[in-house]
């Protein structure tokens, strides 16, 4: 598939689960394609979000965010997320790391909810009205019911994939497998498409199975500016630049023109080209 074909399959109002974790293996090339399209009112589901959620909020593409965390880790807070939260501009639902996983898992297992103790005696339960308290029917213990999270679409980025839709993840898996299995349609970008024979040599690192994927796009550096271990590390200098450009509307428009409203190959040129990226980010 092409990036444009993926975006054409995602109507406004879709619920989109995003893989990766904060500054690691976010499907940023797909995110940027979504951001420059006319798609609006997205409901995002992220376990640990970062530049993915922040950028889509920045381009006005989002109406709701379900999240356990959104931040830039060592670089600080996520600027558009923070502003939107403080201005109460969008709907936000705070979940927790395991409950996002459990919500996706409930959908995979075709049950309406999964039980947990997580959240008891915290304020997450008071602000997140999607959760319900209930009594264990066997012993009467109080538990939290985590409702099924039902993404229409999952977007993930992996190291390698074959054309059939099997994917190899060499670094941390994050929640990509859960996203891929729970979503009705999963689109996967990859650093490189390889033959199925070559892919099968990766054994247990083949984590994404083709029965769960709808389409594959080859997008080298597709996680940039987040990292894609062990191919490349996060581009913290670019992310610092992103943060600087998020300070006001003019600067943000400049960033968006330069890096979002452009195609993937021109994006790489504007990073100084592949050689420069390798020198900066190859470990």
């Amino acid at each position: 598939m092409t990036v444009d074909q993926v975006v054409a399959d995602i109507p406004s109002g879709s619920t989109v689960a995003i893989g990766g974790s904060s500054l690691s293996r976010k499907p940023m090339a797909l995110i940027r394609a979504l951001a420059r399209s006319s798609v609006k009112d997205l409901r995002l589901i992220v376990d640990v979000g970062g530049p993915d959620v922040d950028l889509l909020i920045g381009t006005g593409s989002v109406s709701e965010v379900i999240y356990a965390f959104v931040g830039f880790e060592v670089l600080g807070l996520a600027p558009h997320f923070r502003r939107a939260r403080q201005q109460q501009a969008l709907r936000f639902e705070e979940w927790t790391e395991y409950t996002v996983m459990a919500g996706l898992d409930a959908t995979i297992k075709r049950v309406p909810f999964l039980p947990t103790h997580a959240g008891l005696a915290t304020d997450v339960l008071s602000v997140n009205t999607s959760f319900r308290r209930f009594q264990d029917p066997f012993h009467g213990e109080e538990l939290v019911a985590v409702p099924a999270l039902k993404p229409d679409v999952a977007l993930i980025h992996v190291n390698y994939a074959d054309a059939k839709g099997n994917g190899v993840i060499l670094g941390d898996g994050h929640v990509d497998v859960l996203c891929a299995k729970a979503a009705r349609r999963t689109y996967m970008s990859c650093e490189r498409i390889i033959s199925s024979d070559e892919l099968q040599r990766y054994g247990r690192d083949v984590q994404i199975l083709r029965v769960h994927t709808t389409g594959v796009v080859e997008l080298p550096w597709g996680a940039h500016p987040t990292g894609c271990a062990p191919d490349y590390r996060a581009d913290l200098r670019h992310l610092q630049d992103y943060l600087k450009h998020s300070a006001n509307e003019d600067a943000w428009r400049e960033y968006a023109d330069q890096y979002i409203y452009t195609d993937p190959s021109r994006y790489l040129e504007r990073q100084g080209g592949v050689e420069a990226l390798l020198a900066r980010l190859k470990v």
Binding site: G71, R85, E94, T99, A118, L120, A121, D123, R233
Partner: protein, 286 residues
């Protein structure tokens, strides 16, 4: 706390944190302080620890604090790869420990990393509760550290409970699972053995007075009649920390402003070289 020429504040605190560990548990390395505390503990105080390179990543790894290379460290050292399911199963079965650095902690050990002000109308929206509700509903030991003990960080009541402290809500649902055990700050070591599970002074760092602690806290911390002084690090402790963190990433946690920014860039530019010097690459793309 007055500085001693034999160690810096970060080295004093990391050693104090390391001495809280015991047993055969996984230890997550989210921050440089947490990573170095785990590494020092494994070397000197709790040899059975299974140390992780990053929050997720791999086990049986010797941490080296960096800004961007956690997963590469796992790869270079051929750490045992872990999934998120394995991390949370270790949390639910109480085989996991972590040092959490909250924005606020209160009298009952409730902690906040989510929001300053009302959650619905935030003054400052921070990051969201992440996995702290899971930790504070399952682990038998919960470790917190705060680098600047002040009325903004050690408060009467947190603005939002990301982490469950002690009190009636906990008693009615969780019992002892996930209750706060220890808080280490730049002034002292605290636990939650005060009346009704409230914060109490366990020890004060050399040169710190109880008056100073009360002055810098948002409530009166329970204090026993005689308060011990926190043991300082040994020469060996300090050496282990310095050797394990050649880039001095740990210093960043105590800095802010232009000095922090400058150091940050310098570390980011040098850290690949430091990683290769310490761990010649044998990983998946090596």
């Amino acid at each position: 706390m007055p500085l001693d020429e034999r160690y810096a504040l970060d080295e004093f605190l990391i050693t104090t944190m390391a001495r809280q560990f015991s047993g055969e548990v996984m230890v997550s390395s989210v921050t440089a302080f947490g990573a170095l505390a785990a590494l020092l503990a494994k070397a000197r105080y709790a040899p059975d620890l299974a140390v992780l390179a990053t929050p997720e990543s791999g086990m049986e790894v010797t941490p080296m604090p960096t800004l961007s290379l956690g997963q590469f460290l796992t790869d270079a050292q051929r750490g045992i790869p872990l999934t998120m399911e394995e991390i949370f199963d270790a949390i639910f079965t109480d085989h996991f420990r972590i040092w959490i650095n909250p924005a606020q902690i209160d009298r009952h050990g409730n902690t906040n990393i989510s929001v300053i002000g009302d959650w619905h109308q935030p003054k400052v929206a921070m990051v969201g509760s992440r996995g702290i509700p899971e930790d504070t509903s399952h682990l038998s030991q919960i470790f917190y550290y705060v680098l600047t003990h002040s009325r903004r960080t050690v408060v009467e009541q947190v603005d939002f409970r990301s982490g469950a402290g002690t009190g009636p809500d906990r008693d009615a649902t969780l019992g002892a699972h996930g209750a706060p055990s220890v808080l280490v700050t730049d002034l002292g070591v605290f636990d939650f053995t005060g009346p009704g599970g409230t914060m109490a002074v366990r020890s004060l760092h050399p040169g710190v007075t109880l008056e100073e602690v009360q002055e810098k806290s948002g409530f009166e911390i329970h204090a026993p009649g005689s308060i011990p002084v926190t043991d300082p690090p040994t020469e060996e402790d300090v050496q282990i920390i310095r050797d394990a963190d050649p880039l001095e990433v740990r210093k960043l946690e105590l800095l802010s402003g232009p000095e922090a920014a400058e150091r940050f860039v310098s570390i980011y530019e040098r850290e690949r070289q430091a990683l290769h010097a310490a761990w010649p690459r044998l990983g998946k793309l090596g």
